[in-house]
Amino acid sequence: MAKSYGDVRALDGVDLAAPTGTVLGLLGPNGAGKTTAVRILTTLLPADGGRARVAGLDVASEAPELRRRIGLAGQYAAVDENLTGFENLQMVGQLYHLPKGEPKARATELLERFDLEEAGGRLVRTYSGGMRRRLDLAAALVARPPVLFLDEPTTGLDPRSRIGLWETIEGRVAEGTTVLLTTQYLDEADRLADRISVIDHGRVIAEGSSDELKDQVGGEALEVTLESAGDAEAAIAALREVCSAPPELDGVVLRVPVAERKGTIAAAVQRLNDAGVGIDDISMRRPTLDDVFLKLTGHAAEEDEEGGEG
C-alpha cells in the first residue's frame, strides 16, 4: 500500500499479511503511518498505490460488503457522549442492519461482557476513560466481525484498564477473530501479537514474531553494574571468557553479550571477585522490543510520546 499527502509519503509501499485467527501487531512511533494503514484497510481512505484484501474482499472495489465484516475501535473512543452506553451499542447494531430485536439483545450482552452492566443506563459523558474504551471496543464487536482493527486501543489508559482490555482482546482472538493492532507500546505488541511488523516513516523495517525480532538484535546479555567506573577495564578483562561478543560500557553499566544463560551469573561473579571488582548489581537480560526498535531505527519507539511506558 502507498499513500501520500502532498510531498509527505505517509505509506511508502507497506506489505502486511495476517492469517485468519491471528493478531498482527503494527508497531511504530507516532507518525510512522500506522493509522493511515488502518484507515485504508477499513475503507476510510483510498490508497494511491497498491491493493489490499481484508476477509477476502478488496478494500477499494468491495468496500460496502467489507464494512459488514469489520469492526473498528479507534485511538479516540468514538462513542456518543450524550447517549447512554446501551443506546450507543444499540445504535451501532441498527446501523449494521442487524435483524430486528438483535441490536437490543447484543447491547445487553456486550455491556454485561465488558463489565458495564450497571453503567449501561448512564450517559457516556459520566464514564471514565477506561469505561469509554471498553464501550468503544464493545461497539466494534456488535456485529461479531471476523476482522477487528484496533488503532492504539490502550493509549492513555491506566495500567489496570490496559490489562483488562488486553484480556478482552485475547478472548476475541481465542474465538477465531483476526486482529490488526497498532501500538506504540512494545509490551503490548509483545503480549498480544503473533506477528509484528515494525514500521517507520511509512515503510516496514522488520517483520516477524516477537522472538524472531529479538533474535535479530542478538541473544541474551549479562548486565553488570559496577561500583566504580574505574574498574571497567578490569571487569572486561575478567569476563573475556564468558562473552560472545565485545562488551559495551555505558557509565557504570557493562553489557556483556553471552552465548549461554546457564551458570553464567555464578561464573561471572566468581571471576569478578577474583579480579577484585566491586559489583553493585548483576542480572541476565533478554532484549526487549525497545532494543529491537532502537537498533532498527536508530531512535527509540516512544521518543515523542509523553509519559511513555513499555
Binding site: L72, D80, V92, L95, Y96, H97
Partner: protein, 255 residues
C-alpha cells in the same frame, strides 16, 4: 433513497433528538434566543424603523422567522464538527450504513427543532401584537416554506461543519457567512433606506426573496413571483450544498 438509507437516517435523527433533550442549553437556543430577538427588535429598534402599510411587528415577524430558520442549522454544523473531532464520523464511515444518512439525520432533526422555534416565535409574536392578515392555507404554505428554507440552510451548515477544524471554528465561520446575509436583506428594515450597492444586494439576496414571500403569505403583501422564487432558491441551495456536503463527508478525515 433506499430503504436502508431511510432507516439509517431515522436512527441518526433519533440520536440527535436524544442529545438535544439531554442538553437543555441547546434547547435554549431554539426557544429563548428567538424570543430574545423578537423582543429586542420589536421594542429597541421598532420605534426607530418606519414601515409603510404595516405595523413594525407585522413587518418584523416574517423577517425574524426567516433569520431564525437560517441559524437553526448551527446545531448541525457544530454537531458534525464535534463528531469529526471525536472520531464518530470514522466509526459511522466504517459501518455498512448509507453514506448520506449521517448528514440527512442531522438535517432531518433540524426540521423538528426549527418547527419548535417557529411555534415559540409565533406565540410570542401574537402576544406582543402580531396578527396574520391572510387566508389559513397561505399561513400553512408560509410555515412549510420556512421549514424548507431552514432545511436548505441545514445543508449549508452541514458543509460548514465538515470543512471547519473544530466546533468553535464552525460556529464562527457560520456566523460570518450567515450574519451579513440576514442583515443586508429586507428582514429588519425596508431596503430602500440602504446605500445603493447594499440595496441592490438586499433585493437579490435569497433571504430577502424568502422574507418577501413569507410577508406575502402571512400578511398579504403583494407576492408576485416571490413565493415560487423563494421555493426555487431553497431547493437550489439544498441541492448544491447537499451534493457538496455528501461529497465532503465521504472524504472526511479526523483532525
Amino acid at each position: 433513497m433506499s430503504g436502508t438509507a431511510i432507516s439509517d437516517t431515522l436512527v441518526l435523527a433519533k440520536r440527535n433528538f436524544l442529545r438535544i433533550a439531554r442538553a437543555p442549553d441547546l434547547l435554549l437556543a431554539f426557544t429563548v434566543q428567538p424570543i430574545m430577538f423578537v423582543l429586542l427588535f420589536a421594542y429597541v429598534f421598532g420605534g426607530a424603523i418606519s414601515t409603510s402599510g404595516h405595523s413594525y411587528i407585522n413587518f418584523l415577524i416574517p423577517g425574524i422567522l426567516v433569520q431564525t430558520m437560517a441559524f437553526g442549522g448551527f446545531v448541525t454544523a457544530m454537531g458534525i464538527a464535534e463528531d469529526l473531532r471525536k472520531g464518530l464520523v470514522d466509526r459511522f464511515r466504517s459501518l455498512p450504513m448509507s453514506r448520506s444518512a449521517v448528514l440527512a439525520g442531522r438535517t432531518l432533526s433540524d426540521i423538528v427543532t426549527n418547527g419548535i422555534s417557529i411555534t415559540v416565535m409565533l406565540v410570542v409574536g401574537v402576544i406582543i401584537g402580531f396578527g396574520f392578515e391572510s387566508p389559513f392555507l397561505h399561513i400553512v404554505a408560509g410555515i412549510l416554506l420556512l421549514l424548507l428554507f431552514g432545511y436548505a440552510f441545514s445543508w449549508v451548515f452541514a458543509f460548514i461543519g465538515l470543512t471547519s477544524s473544530s466546533p468553535e471554528a464552525a460556529q464562527s465561520l457560520g456566523f460570518i457567512v450567515i450574519f451579513p446575509l440576514t442583515f443586508v436583506s429586507s428582514a429588519f428594515v425596508p431596503p430602500e433606506t440602504m446605500p445603493a450597492a447594499l440595496q441592490w444586494f438586499a433585493e437579490w439576496n435569497p433571504f430577502s426573496i424568502t422574507v418577501n414571500a413569507i410577508r406575502a403569505l402571512f400578511i398579504g403583501d403583494p407576492a408576485g413571483n416571490t413565493v415560487w422564487g423563494a421555493v426555487l432558491w431553497s431547493v437550489g441551495i439544498a441541492a448544491v450544498f447537499g451534493v457538496l456536503a455528501v461529497t465532503r463527508y465521504k472524504r472526511a478525515v479526523v483532525r
